[in-house]
C-alpha cells in the first residue's frame, strides 16, 4: 500500500472509532459532524484552561456569529489567497414563478441551486476576521495597543475523511493589534505558552515554520514568502500520522496586511500590525482522544487534573 492510501486508511479508522464511541455524529457530508456531550465537555474544559493562561491580561472578549458581512469578506483579501476555501451564503430571492421552477427542479432531482443568489452573508473563515473592522472604527489605538479574545465557528471548504480536517470547526484566538514590536512579543509569548499548555496535557508535539494553503501558482509564491519571512508557526501533533502531523495551534504574524485592509492605526498614526494565536479546539480534543484513549475517565490523572482540576 502506498503512503497516501495508508494515511487515508488511518484517518478513516480513527473517524470510525470516534463515531462508534459516540463522540462524533456523522451528518452525511465529509467534514461535517455533530459532537457528543463528552466531546463538548473536553472542548469547554480546554477553553477554560486557555483562559487560565491568558485571561488575566485584560483581553477584550468579543463573540460573533459564524458569519461576516460580504463587504468585510471582500475587504479582507481572502479571495486573493484562498478562493477554494471560502463559503458564501446564497438564498432564494425570486417570485412565485421562480418558486415553481425551483420546486420542479427539486422534484426532478435536477440542479436547483443555479437560481440562488448571493446574500450579504459569508461564512467566517477564521475567528479573528470580524474584529479588525470593529477595532478600526474606534479610531487610533492607545499606546499599549489592543488585545482581544474571540471564539467562533469557522468554515473552510475542504471535505475530507480526516476527522481532524472538518469543514465547520471552532477557533479560539487571542489577537494582538499594535506596533510590530508589540505583536511580535505577543506571538513569542504564545508560542511558549501554547507549548507549555499542550505539554501539560501529555501530548507529543513540535513547533515548526508553516504556510497557509494559498491557491494556485501565485499561492506557491505567497507560501514561499510566508515561510521565508517566518510569518507563521504551527504547533503540530501526530493524530493520524507521524509523518504528517496535524496543526493544533497556529501563531501568526500578519505584518500590516489587516492594518492596511481596514485602516487600523497605532497611537502615533502609523499602520498597525497584527498577530494572533489560534487554537483549533476540535483538533486539540482529537489529539487528546488519540493519545489518551476514547474514554475520558481513563485519561492519566495529571491530564485530568489540568482540565478538570
Amino acid at each position: 500500500m502506498n503512503a497516501h492510501a495508508e494515511l487515508g486508511q488511518a484517518q478513516a479508522a480513527f473517524r470510525d472509532a470516534l463515531i462508534a464511541h459516540g463522540l462524533l455524529i456523522p451528518m452525511g457530508v465529509d467534514g461535517l459532524y455533530g459532537r457528543s456531550g463528552t466531546f463538548e465537555e473536553v472542548i469547554e474544559r480546554f477553553n477554560a484552561l486557555v483562559t487560565r493562561h491568558g485571561g488575566h491580561e485584560g483581553a477584550e472578549i468579543m463573540r460573533f456569529p459564524p458569519s461576516i458581512s460580504r463587504q468585510v469578506f471582500e475587504e479582507s483579501g481572502y479571495l486573493k489567497s484562498f478562493p477554494q476555501l471560502a463559503g458564501t451564503v446564497h438564498s432564494f430571492m425570486g417570485n412565485d414563478r421562480d418558486h415553481q421552477a425551483l420546486i420542479e427542479k427539486l422534484l426532478a432531482k435536477e440542479d436547483w441551486t443555479a437560481g440562488q443568489k448571493a446574500t450579504q452573508v459569508v461564512l467566517t473563515p477564521a475567528a479573528c476576521y470580524p474584529l479588525y473592522p470593529v477595532v478600526a472604527a474606534r479610531g487610533p489605538l492607545p499606546a499599549e495597543g489592543a488585545l482581544l479574545d474571540v471564539y467562533s465557528w469557522c468554515f473552510r471548504h475542504e471535505p475530507s475523511i480526516d476527522p481532524a480536517r472538518m469543514q465547520q470547526f471552532r477557533q479560539r484566538e487571542y489577537v494582538r493589534i499594535g506596533t510590530a514590536a508589540q505583536v511580535m512579543a505577543f506571538r513569542q509569548l504564545w508560542i511558549d505558552r501554547g507549548t507549555a499548555i499542550m505539554s501539560s496535557l501529555g501530548i507529543p508535539l513540535h513547533v515548526d515554520v508553516a504556510n497557509d494553503p494559498f491557491f494556485g501558482r501565485a499561492g506557491r509564491m505567497l507560501a514561499a514568502n510566508q515561510r521565508d519571512q517566518t510569518l507563521k508557526f504551527e504547533l503540530l501533533v501526530p493524530i493520524t500520522s507521524s509523518e504528517k502531523p496535524t496543526a493544533c495551534l497556529s501563531f501568526n504574524y500578519h505584518q500590516d496586511h489587516f492594518g492596511h485592509a481596514w485602516g487600523l492605526r497605532t497611537h502615533d498614526g502609523g499602520t498597525a500590525h497584527t498577530a494572533c494565536v489560534g487554537f483549533g479546539v476540535e483538533r486539540i480534543a482529537l489529539a487528546l482522544f488519540r493519545h489518551h484513549g476514547l474514554d475520558v475517565k481513563a485519561w492519566p490523572q495529571a491530564v485530568r487534573d489540568q482540565l478538570w482540576g
Binding site: R217, R220, M221, L222, A224, N225, Q226, D228, Q229
Partner: protein
C-alpha cells in the same frame, strides 16, 4: 509587447549585439513592468538595479502581480524553484532569473 519582442530579438542576436545590449533591453522591460503594474509606491526611476524592492514597499500580493506581469511581458513561466521571495527582491535578481529562463528556452 514591443519590449518583449525587442528583448527576444536582442537575445537571439545576443552574439552579434553583445551581452550589454541584451541586458539593457531586459532591464528596460523589467522596469516597464514595474512602472506599468504600479507594484511600488515609489517611482521606479529612483531605484538602482540592485536596490531592495521589498524595502521600497513591494508587498507579497504585489509580488504575485509582478510575477504575472513579467510572465506576460517575456512570454515565460517561472518554475517552482524561482517562485521565491529572493527572485523578486531587486531588478538585478529578476534579470538573472529571466536571463536564465530565456537562455534555457533558446538552448532547448
Amino acid at each position: 509587447m514591443q519590449a518583449l519582442h525587442s528583448a527576444r530579438r536582442a537575445f537571439s542576436q545576443k552574439v552579434s549585439l553583445g551581452t550589454g545590449a541584451f541586458v539593457t533591453s531586459v532591464t528596460d522591460s523589467i522596469r516597464e513592468v514595474l512602472r506599468e503594474g504600479g507594484a511600488l509606491p515609489v517611482d521606479i526611476a529612483t531605484l538602482d538595479d540592485a536596490d531592495d524592492l521589498y524595502a521600497a514597499g513591494l508587498t507579497s500580493h504585489a509580488t504575485v502581480n509582478l510575477m504575472l506581469g513579467l510572465e506576460e511581458k517575456f512570454d515565460i513561466e517561472f518554475p517552482d524553484h524561482l517562485l521565491r521571495r529572493r527572485t523578486f527582491e531587486s531588478i538585478a535578481s529578476i534579470r538573472a532569473a529571466i536571463t536564465e529562463l530565456l537562455g534555457n528556452e533558446v538552448a532547448a
